[in-house]
Symmetry: C2
Subunit: 463 residues, 2 copies
Amino acid sequence: MTTPSDPLALLRGALGERVDTTPAALHAARADKSGHAAAGVPLAVVHAHTVEDVQQTLRIASATGTPVVTRGAGTGLAGAANAGDGEIALSMRGMDRILEVRPDDLLAVVEPGILNADLNASLAEHGLWWAPDPASRAISTVGGNIATGAGGLLCAKYGVVRDAVLGVDIVLADGRLLHLGHRTVKGVTGLDLTSLVIGSEGTLGVVVGATLKLRRLVPGEVCTVAATFPDVRTAAEASAAVTASGVQPAIMELMDAASLAAVHALLSLPAPTPGASQLTIQTDGPAAGVEAEAIADVLRATGGTVAVSHDRDDGERLLAIRRSMHPAMETLGTALIEDVSVPRSALPAMFDEIARVEREHGVVIPTVAHAGDGNLHPNFIFDAEPDEFGVVEAPDHIWAAADDLFRAALRLGGTLTGEHGVGVLKRRWLADELGDDQWELQQRITRAFDPQGILNPGKVFAR
Amino acid sequence: MTTPSDPLALLRGALGERVDTTPAALHAARADKSGHAAAGVPLAVVHAHTVEDVQQTLRIASATGTPVVTRGAGTGLAGAANAGDGEIALSMRGMDRILEVRPDDLLAVVEPGILNADLNASLAEHGLWWAPDPASRAISTVGGNIATGAGGLLCAKYGVVRDAVLGVDIVLADGRLLHLGHRTVKGVTGLDLTSLVIGSEGTLGVVVGATLKLRRLVPGEVCTVAATFPDVRTAAEASAAVTASGVQPAIMELMDAASLAAVHALLSLPAPTPGASQLTIQTDGPAAGVEAEAIADVLRATGGTVAVSHDRDDGERLLAIRRSMHPAMETLGTALIEDVSVPRSALPAMFDEIARVEREHGVVIPTVAHAGDGNLHPNFIFDAEPDEFGVVEAPDHIWAAADDLFRAALRLGGTLTGEHGVGVLKRRWLADELGDDQWELQQRITRAFDPQGILNPGKVFAR
């Protein structure tokens, strides 16, 4: 027998078969791609198909004091979407429609569950694109990109998610629907709650719709410059020199020697020179060719061995080496993928710190960087057995090394996370970066949205 | 005799000669450039020179429950910086230093009181600029630009203030100093309070420092396209056609017939064809020439008489007509300068609405528009006598016409204010745009920053 305060019974009564309690669904909702999993399994997975589904779920959650964890495709790297014991996992993946595309106003209105790549395939038919391009774009949702404030490869030239969203519709913890932002290029009516929701990792409300700022597909050729350097510090200095030269690449990716060696082995390419590091740079737009040559000159002056290609397919082949990073890491062991960001001029110093952490902690940390915006992904490699659900927890000595690396990034004027978010992985360092006063202020702001604290409790702000 | 709760005595004790109670200073602090003035005069003007001055002022204000109105150069157009009876006017104009310029990281750290134009003159020596370019740039401060979330002429291509600030230091109502944001291109650690402070019009805290995102000066020529059209609707359709063509101008300004006639009279130029409207468009960067010719083709196809100039000085002479708008309006009477923004495709319909409001309310509304981003400045012209302080209040029939125009903009998917802010001028319409639920949520957020409500009370959120 159920009482009116039994959230599962209430959900079933209101949402019927959209409430999923199969063991497979419950277990899948425990983890994202961070390597972390929640303790226990959630009460239920609710597969929302409409805004009203979301509102009903949140009204029941509020009435019963039940925590709600919103999920997209579960591809996050910080554990923010992991749902555990006693929680409702609210899946937005089924709300995946494109509601409107306006080429004349360069905007689209979409539901949050659509995959980034699926959206862009549709937009391409209109000669348009949505610029945020996280490496996960083929498998991650627009709603998840918004929840994390995602970045990607093209950010220095084309911006991050925060630059590409005009408005969001959110459902508050009590079930009320709010329309935040606007459809105009400019708008300063009241506080900018759209920007506040972007990157809030499910703590302020559930995004049920988004008005996206689009760009036209960039005309002209794409040129690719590939350069190898004797060591990673020289490659980092070269990337800083490109930034300082004033030419703006579309993409500038750096791979250190360990990353490069692992990818070459995976792809059965000839082994690279030991210690060699690589920069792969693309230029686009009307001046792509001139810019590629200017960049090549900078790279040669900083000691690089340089090749320039004006062929788009050739460029894709060169970038494929960078894109094979994650599968290559899997051949080495389990990887804790980190995400610090530093001012671009500090990239060489940050690579020195990574080398120091490797030495002092006896760990291997292959690292790639979105060098054009100072965002590094150090991969902490370790061996561990997965649990019954296939989830692997990083051991203490890996976290000790990561802690050392985070603090080094902060000392260099950097930030804990450039694009993955805080989730559960970095919550213990959050107050170190924000300071206690700002940490408390941010918590008070979440309480203005969610007085009961039922939205993604234990994420981001828990210490 | 003073008691410990006398805020003026406490300010004098703590800040000495930085506390200004001369009648001229007190009266000047009552008004900005909006045409609105506060009732009564403030207690004092505090000329802050250091962060500590700001902290002391706010500690005294908190201890005594005294409202604080933060001011820059007083050039705002919505009345947000107007200080009245019983309030402390906190002037940031004296904190005007550039603390750091980093060409390699494309950032600068500045105090808020520096004028936008003075900052850009210094940055030009490094080959850099800060893109936000409100028409007031010669006389407005960076802190004021941040407080209002200012726009300008170059926004569609180069962004607004929100796109150009990496972090802000703010002093809270209780005197605590917080560092918000980061020095990196990417950063998603916690909630984005920097974006929340931008455009908050003095309601959340006092900005005492800002880390600005810079651009390199754009190389290459600047081309100017001037086109006249038989009427304003055709000009608006032509600007929408330029946007839809995919070419991105740096500047695209539209002047209606009344604006054009007034400026021509002011500058002693031959009178324009009656009814004629004008578009002035600039392109820049490596493809400026090609883009200007493509735009000229679009304009000719939509019925424009077009002239293209590749000479930078010639272009400045053409733009000077647009820049003479404000003095030209002063020759017609007193102007209430409005600031609605609509999706770009709705520009022609918005001009139809302005014509309707002119007819139905019997008022003259010369209008210019930043047509590239759908932001219109209708100037409601009226005759009125200034009060003893030179301030003129708009009469009721002008507000009735403005009310009609605001509601038309909202119906077209637009917003009340594109770049001037809410201040006192638009607070009565704020809930119409936000909805009551969001209006209340925004107020709760201000209370998380300022529990006593001493920061700019009566602005933005008062109904």
